[in-house]
Amino acid sequence: MANDPSEKDPNVKPPESPAAGAAAPPKPAAAAAAPPKPPAAPPKEAPPKPVPLDNELVQRLKARFGDAIREATLDRKQAIVLVAAAQLREIARYCRDDEKFDMLADLTAVDWPKREKRFDVVLNLYSFPKNERLRLKAHAGENEPVPSVCEVWPVANWLERECYDMFGIVFEGHPDLKRILLPDEWQGYPLRKDYDILKQDTDWVRENLGIESGQ
């Protein structure tokens, strides 16, 4: 039943997943031309457009890490900083020690299969002294290991294990990287866009029950 996700050709996509509509690279900042405004139904308050962000925090980061800080945007009044995956751990340690972001609220990933570096590793930080939130994002390719931030925030231990379990992102430097929610011998990474539930079911049914399709 080992449907190795990598050799699947992209067009076998679940019917109801979005078609080429969102083909434009969804990085908000780069999509300069926002998609055509939704038909003006009753006057709805549209959210503020994502806008490049340039406050002192971003300047300090740029001064410190130079081009490792790829972009900084403000989407719906929330600061997002895109960083290079390689320096993720140093930037994380800097954010915790000097910028006082002492709590890693959440660490997760988003799968954009059409990009060459398909995964977004997203870190939501929070600072108790400054009562501020910051979101670090890093792009990671399919089999490209991401530096683990376990030493910086110990809570990342389970969060990174869940990311590995759901997306297959390998966090190098993690003390005990193995699946956390799914059984250890599980094949495939469910939250990847090309992990098709329907195909999973038909494979299993065909293999174990010998009938064509369970639907």
Binding site: K44, V122, N157
Partner: protein
């Protein structure tokens, strides 16, 4: 924050490698079917005699892949799934999700909806804490409080049932506001409940707070220092019991919390007894909020004008609320279609449970039950 600090912190990370056993250590397996693990949680304890030397929580027995389902549902269709995660506090799950999507849309629920949402969420917090108190006391051996707690919780569930027809997985809110207008007599019911609830909390306190055996079983058990709490990103009553005065309802007010004043109970030592005191005090504060809220529920519409088909422009948002267990966050990425591209739930129980290993080390086997109870986890939310 010198670097040396990080070295000792890294020792949190390594799970108990069960194969390496000390001289007379044994592995004790608790769960997944166990009377006091609050659901299907399996804990592998490494014991040296009676003392717990290491522990590893094995979870995932209740994993339903909610986040994968979200990618194949429209925004409104996914709302009922949110109730099934922390099924003990379904209303606050719903509030978190609806407000996250409203932020994504840039919409804002009308004032009346925000006030009613606050009342129902606070009632749900009381109900969740009551269930915690009942089962926690039962695990430690006090047979009576569980029946008192469920008697009060029943009153709250009746109010939910009258309002939206369901008691547990209520799906009470809609994106943009409320579906149902409050039934007439809603204010009187809430007032009657809040009126005599204070006396009821005193009843529990007389049963437990000064009870020498209760104090003996909870004081000094499962200690979590403030520094460890922040390092492990523990939130909610567990964090406040370790001495950090932080509550999202005050730090980043949402719904109508900025209109009412209430205080945040905190304690210093961060042991099971402190978490008990913090949660009891939180119930009283929630009652205070409800009483202030039902004084004047503003008139006006209960639904924002966001139309039937929701197509939020591409982008992402992270919205966090103060659920009874801690910070419940929703990270929603939209790609402009009617279905969310990615919904990530930041589950307080899952992250608080990771602190179990730190709390359980050095304690006795009999305390493990008390420690699991004091973290107040719900496996639906841990496994998602």
């Amino acid at each position: 924050m010198s670097d040396t600090r990080t070295d000792d912190r890294s020792k949190f990370g390594e799970g108990v490698n069960a194969t390496v056993l000390g001289a007379d250590e044994i592995i004790l397996n608790m769960g997944p079917q166990h009377p006091s693990t609050h659901g299907v949680l399996r804990v592998k304890l490494k014991l040296d005699g009676e003392r717990v030397v290491g522990s590893e929580c094995i979870i995932g027995y209740l994993h339903r892949g909610v986040e994968k389902i979200a990618e194949h549902r429209s925004y409104q269709q996914f709302a009922p799934y949110v109730d099934r995660m922390d099924y003990v506090a379904a209303v606050s799950n719903g509030l978190g999700y609806c407000e996250a999507i409203e932020k994504l849309l840039g919409a804002e629920a009308p004032p009346r909806a925000r006030v009613v949402r606050t009342i129902l969420t606070e009632l749900q917090r009381i109900a969740s804490h009551l269930l915690w108190l009942g089962t926690h006391a039962l695990d430690i051996g006090a047979l009576t409080p569980v029946f008192y707690c469920f008697r009060e919780r029943e009153e709250i569930l009746k109010i939910f049932e009258k309002y939206c027809g369901a008691r547990l997985t209520t799906h009470a809110f809609r994106i943009g506001g409320l579906q149902y207008e409050t039934y007439d007599g809603f204010e009187q019911d809430v007032k009657r409940f809040c009126e005599d609830f204070d006396k009821k909390v005193d009843e529990y306190e007389t049963l437990l707070t000064e009870n020498r055996i209760w104090v003996g079983r909870t004081k000094g058990v499962g200690i979590l220092s403030a520094e460890d709490a922040i390092a492990l990103a523990v939130t909610g009553p567990v964090l406040r019991a370790s001495g950090i005065k932080w509550d999202i309802r005050k730090a980043a007010p949402y719904a109508a919390y900025d209109q009412y004043e209430f205080d945040i109970p905190t304690r210093q030592t961060g042991d099971t007894y402190d978490r008990y005191v913090v949660r009891m005090e939180e119930m009283r504060q929630s009652r205070r909020i409800c009483l202030q809220a039902i004084e004047n529920i503003p008139a006006g519409p209960i639904m924002a004008r966001i139309g039937k088909v929701l197509k939020p422009p591409p982008g992402e948002v992270y919205h966090a609320i103060e659920a009874p267990k801690g910070e419940l966050g929703y990270y929603v990425v939209s790609d402009g279609t009617t279905q969310p591209y990615r919904v990530r739930v930041r589950p307080p129980s899952f992250i608080n449970l990771q602190a179990f290993d730190k709390m359980a080390r050095g304690s006795l086997v009999a305390d493990v039950v008390a420690i699991i109870g004091t973290i107040d986890i719900v496996l639906g939310e841990v496994d998602r």
